[in-house]
């Protein structure tokens, strides 16, 4: 990690404090992108998968995600950042058109391999 001052100025990066070697290089306070506090993606046993054919782009999943891991993409659809999604299922529960399903992580991995 480089100097936190430069990293802070950039729109797309934040000093990820876990990646510093010594406290001396740390910024004065721990800051990060929303949801980047720690490696929560590794906690997941089930993951939300969106059926974009049914999705109405209403944005409920984005609003309800307690960790802020869902972002609006350039296509107007909402995408999950799996590095930080911990698989809580709140988005699937709140989706008004039920286009999000929680898929077992092992099945999802298999699917990704097959793709």
């Amino acid at each position: 990690m480089g100097d936190w001052r430069n990293i802070c100025k950039d729109k797309d990066t934040r000093p990820e404090v876990q990646q510093y070697e010594s406290w001396k290089e740390l910024p004065p306070i721990p800051i990060c992108f929303p949801a980047h506090a720690s490696d929560t993606g590794s906690w997941r046993t089930v993951r939300p998968v969106t059926n974009y054919e049914k999705c109405t782009k209403c944005g409920f999943c984005y609003l309800y995600c307690p960790e802020g891991t869902i972002h609006e993409g350039k296509d107007g659809y909402y995408h999950v950042e799996y590095d930080y999604c911990k698989g809580c299922g709140v988005c699937a529960n709140e989706c008004p058109v039920k286009c999000i399903t929680m898929v077992l992580e092992s099945d999802a991995q298999e699917e990704i391999m097959n793709d």
């Binding site: 936190w4 001052r5 802070c8 100025k9 950039d10 729109k11 934040r14 404090v17 876990q18 510093y20 406290w23 740390l26 910024p27 004065p28 306070i29 721990p30 800051i31 990060c32 992108f33 929303p34 949801a35 980047h36 506090a37 720690s38 802020g68």
Partner: protein
Amino acid sequence: MTNTESEFEGIHLLKGNYAAAYAARAANVQVVTAFPITPQTLVVEKISELVDSGKMNCEFIRMESEHSVMTGLIGASIAGARTFTGTSGQGLLYMSEPVHWAAGTRLPIVMSIASRGIAPPWNIWADFSDVITQRDSGWLIQLTATHQEIYDSILMAYKISEDPDVMLPSMVAYGGFILSHTSKPVDMPPQAEIDAFLPQIPDQGWEHIFLDAERPMMHGALIMPGDFYQEFRMKIQLAQIRAKDKIKQVSKKFGEKFGRYYGNGLFEEYNSSDAEYIIINCGEIAKQMEIAVDSLRKEGYKVGMIRLRTYRPFPSSELVQAVKHAKIVGVVDRATAFGSPTGGPISTDVRAALQDDPNTRNLTVVPFINGIGGRDVLPEEQRGQFETLFHVLDKGTYPKTKDLMDKTYWTGTIDRRDS
């Protein structure tokens, strides 16, 4: 003299509270949150008047409690604003949780404290015990002695707090009523000179924390014991240590620019450079103690006084240098630290600091506590504190007076049976 064009420039008779409000105005603060509490109320009352009459350009927000006052300022400061408020006694205690949060977030908030005694029994008069309760919060703490110093210290506080190497909030404390409600001439420099003295407020927010939709960030999340929690706390202590040099520099620059010096910024020495008997004191009673020093000097006693201005960071090594030639040291507290080795916060700190150096390790430090809850401190009582030092040094014992409890003198204690 008072006929200057502006009510904000030149010499004016000001109550201590108004000096604080006028200093906040001069510092171009952008957000003030307020909740009234005696004896501070006049500070935010004056600011609201100034804002209402268009004489001050800032966002003035009335809050429902002191807790909200500080959380409001934290929000404003995170957004990059220069912020100010005032409080006292119980209000500061109620504010305590976000007070720690402000320091932990490293926000350069400045707050004036019209210090008052802590209840029960109910008390609203001068006593630094309220500030002492927040001494370990990470805030820089200045104890001021005159109306002019309140004004000047608030200006200096912004320059110190907003320094990138410091980035810690500041409290500027002064005795309730004894300074807050009394009036004295205060010299206010021209606005252009103050603007040139103070740092620019960055438009993009502070370096380490900002509110910017284009640069979203999260702060204040949980850190597990194995991650950098301890290290972030170390950084606060490091900033406190660095602040000592900044305070010295800023105080010097202020003196060069405006012609008013407050010792080295950390403390102010009065006839102590060749003194054998030195008393460390703080606040306006330290100013008053100069009278006792003068009269004892006239009689040939080599006495001196050091007025502590900066309580946090505590100027340990600097104090060691300032007292190492003394034969005995007294420390006067206008605050209580119940259960501490001496009962007084500053005397406990001074003993710890002097312990750290072989030159001062063997110095006797006699603790005094006085003026609690606004009790009048008389010049002859202050003279008596020096006389106690003479006795302890000559006889090697603590004189048994009505004021002595354990090994601390509670000067001015009422005990009619003894008299």
